[in-house]
């Protein structure tokens, strides 16, 4: 096993990787930009290396500096996390070229599967069902429009190099097609350095169901069951769970087999996720492969009892999987809520700024993978995920109730988060019934706004805080303190 690895990421995922490394006795090297000098992943790592300015291209996306940092610190492998360079084949190649194992699939596999149209062809050859769509990407808007006419609106415009909703647009009619293509192209160019787009038939309100897979270097491939990720806003997942409320044992079996076939067909190694769309008739279609650890991997960890980061490290260091498909069991139900720094009272605009107070929920069946700490200034430059709150219980209903309790006790002050929105979603009858389709938010929470119910309590709290602030007992340590040399003794000690 590696003695030291570099984590080419930031935020909650870097912290989460550090934790497993520490448990395995692996030293960790954090990297950071100027904005992140006081970030949680820097504070928790054994070493940390400043990459450069806050702009991602000068820090977290800078391959040269990352490789240099790994070499200078004697790191024996690089974990890319998710986002940033995690699905960038040039990065994986650079690591390989530098003789530093990349903790993920081989560059070739990332490249093949990152090319969405090539990925489709691979899946078709392995008899994995795919959704109708274009097989070639282009940067020509008129070609895209022609294809859309042929396929029939609505269509989905997607960046060939995309992920996480970036460079993705639903287009309902020809009038809005051109502008959608232009803006998606520019977004993709900016985010991935590649503006090429392709089209897919748009399925109305399917479910988004994905399968976690693990594959070692010795040909062993297993799946770790599904995750349902249908609750999305602006094409970003916000709530994920497992098992999927839509799943039956036979469907699970069929999709699991398709996921394993997909992994085998692409020569997959390490942890990955096969995403499917599931329509209401139980038909499922291959969507894409995420060639990295997924944001929502904790729900799988909690229901299977398997630490996926540990598995990634074992696989990358050449070890065999120590379990086969039959050994993997799903038990209980887990739900994850992504805690985004967005202002629910202001159209969910991003809400960077200082974390003045941070109290995490605790207790049975609660896990919080956080990337922030009190005193940290959440930067404007990066993803708004602050943390991921996961609850697990014996049943979906109990996990749901537990999540509501956990959300209601999760204190983040100074910046705004979507916690109030999440509480209302989790508390809704439609969520409780498991009616989670990709149009869930539009259908149920289109014009949501935060309840004013507790405003008077907040006003009361304002006054109470004011009264105690100026009435602190003189014995209270923080205010009185004992005299210190800085106050009483001036500079005689110097």
């Amino acid at each position: 096993m590696f003695k030291k690895i570099l984590i080419a990421n930031r935020g909650e995922i870097a912290v989460r990787i550090i934790r497993t490394c520490r448990e395995m006795g692996i030293q960790t090297v954090a990297v950071y930009s100027e904005a992140d000098a006081g970030a949680a992943h820097v504070l928790e790592a054994d070493e940390s290396i400043l990459l450069g300015e806050s702009e991602p291209s000068k820090s977290y996306l800078n391959i040269e500096r990352l490789i240099a940092a790994a070499k200078n610190t004697g790191s024996e492998a690089i974990h890319p996390g998710y986002g940033f360079l995690a699905e960038n084949p040039e990065f994986a190649e650079s690591c390989e070229a530098a003789g530093i194992p990349f903790i993920g699939p081989p560059a070739r596999v990332i490249r093949d599967l990152g090319n969405k149209t090539l990925a489709r062809r691979i899946m078709e050859s392995a008899s994995v069902p795919v959704i109708p769509g274009m097989l070639e990407a282009t940067t020509d808007p008129s070609l895209l429009s022609q294809e859309a006419e042929r396929m029939g609106y609505p269509v989905m415009v997607k960046a060939v190099a995309g992920g996480g909703g970036k460079g993705m647009r639903i287009v309902l009619n020809r009038e809005t097609m051109e502008e959608a293509c232009m803006s998606a192209m520019s977004e993709a160019e900016k985010a991935f350095g590649n503006g090429s787009l392709y089209l897919e038939k748009y399925l109305k309100a399917p479910r988004h169901v994905e399968f976690q897979i693990l594959a070692d270097h010795h040909g062993n491939v297993v799946h770790l069951f599904e995750r349902e990720c249908s609750i999305q806003r602006r094409h970003q997942k916000i709530i994920e769970e497992t098992p999927s409320p839509a799943m039956t044992p036979s469907l699970r079996n069929a999709m699991g087999k398709a996921a394993v076939s997909a992994a085998r067909a692409s020569g997959y190694v390490n942890a990955g996720t096969i995403e499917f769309m599931l329509d209401r008739s139980g038909q499922f279609y291959f969507l894409e492969v995420n060639t990295r650890l997924q944001v929502e991997h904790p729900v799988t960890e909690m229901t299977t009892g398997i630490d996926l980061v540990r598995q990634q490290l074992e696989i990358a260091s050449g070890n065999h999987l120590t379990f086969s498909q039959e050994d993997i069991t799903q038990r209980g139900h887990a739900i994850e809520c992504r805690i985004y720094a967005e202002d629910p009272e202001a159209n969910f605009y991003p809400s960077p700024g200082p974390v003045l107070l941070h109290r995490e929920p605790t207790g049975p069946g609660i896990r919080n993978d956080s990337g922030i700490c009190e005193g940290f200034e959440v930067p404007i430059e990066y993803d708004p995920i602050l943390s991921k709150l996961i609850t697990m219980a014996a049943t979906r209903e109990a996990a749901r109730e537990r999540m509501i309790r956990a959300l209601k006790s999760y204190v983040i002050l100074g910046i705004r988060t979507i916690i109030p929105f999440l509480i209302d979603i989790l508390s809704s009858p439609e969520f409780a019934k498991g009616n989670t389709y990709t149009d869930f938010i539009d259908r149920n929470f289109k014009n949501w706004s935060q309840s004013k119910e507790d405003e008077d309590l907040a006003r009361i709290a304002y006054v109470v805080e004011e009264m105690t602030y100026f009435n602190k007992p003189a014995t209270k340590v923080k205010n009185s303190g004992w005299p210190t040399p800085w106050e009483t003794l001036g500079e005689w000690r110097m």
């Binding site: 708004p384 916690i419 309590l457 907040a458 304002y462 109470v464």
Partner: protein, 172 residues
């Protein structure tokens, strides 16, 4: 003791007086009355019993006011009498016609027009980005771009006027 406390855009008069014990307060907020028993657990953490119902409350002092957590919701509460400058903190499009301000702290990534350009209501003027989310600021009305007060990569905040539009372009 009287306060005028603002949450979002709404301000209410808050009147507080002590009852029999130091920890027992009577509040009047607008039309409503509340009996409150409180306990300060730490600097930021309070236990309130309001009309018999217990709640845990967290408070942090920030630059713009107090951030207050109640039952999973957070509120920015400001004392009207303490707001030194009443910054017109705008949400969404500017209220003043012709002035374009970003809805969030963000970085300018593209400027789509030049000073002097004629623009149509709804036309994109500036693209700002925060936390990987891009937002296009659009013209609030037809007009001409009078002034651009920003540049690429500038950090901007709500209330900053990035573009000024002259509305009277009827005769052109």
């Amino acid at each position: 003791m009287k306060y005028r406390l603002k949450i979002a855009e709404e301000t209410f008069d808050v009147d507080v007086s002590n009852l029999d014990s130091e920890q027992d307060l009577r509040f009047t907020i607008g039309e409503k009355e509340y009996n409150v028993r409180y306990q300060a657990i730490s600097d930021n953490y309070f236990h309130l019993i309001m009309n018999g119902k217990a709640t845990e409350v967290f408070v942090a002092r920030g630059e713009q006011g107090k951030h207050i957590f109640v039952n999973g919701r957070t509120f920015l509460v400001q004392d009207e009498d303490q707001l030194p400058i009443r910054r017109a903190r705008r949400r969404g499009l500017a209220e003043t016609p012709g002035e374009v301000t970003p809805p969030m702290p963000s970085v300018v990534v593209r400027i789509l027009v030049e000073e002097g350009d004629c623009v149509k209501r709804g036309q994109g003027l500036i693209v700002v980005s925060a936390m990987k989310m891009q937002t296009t600021l659009r013209a609030p009305s037809d007009g001409r771009v009078k002034k651009i007060n920003t540049s690429i990569d500038a950090k901007v905040a709500p209330g900053d006027i990035l573009v000024e539009i002259e509305e009277e372009v009827e005769n052109e």
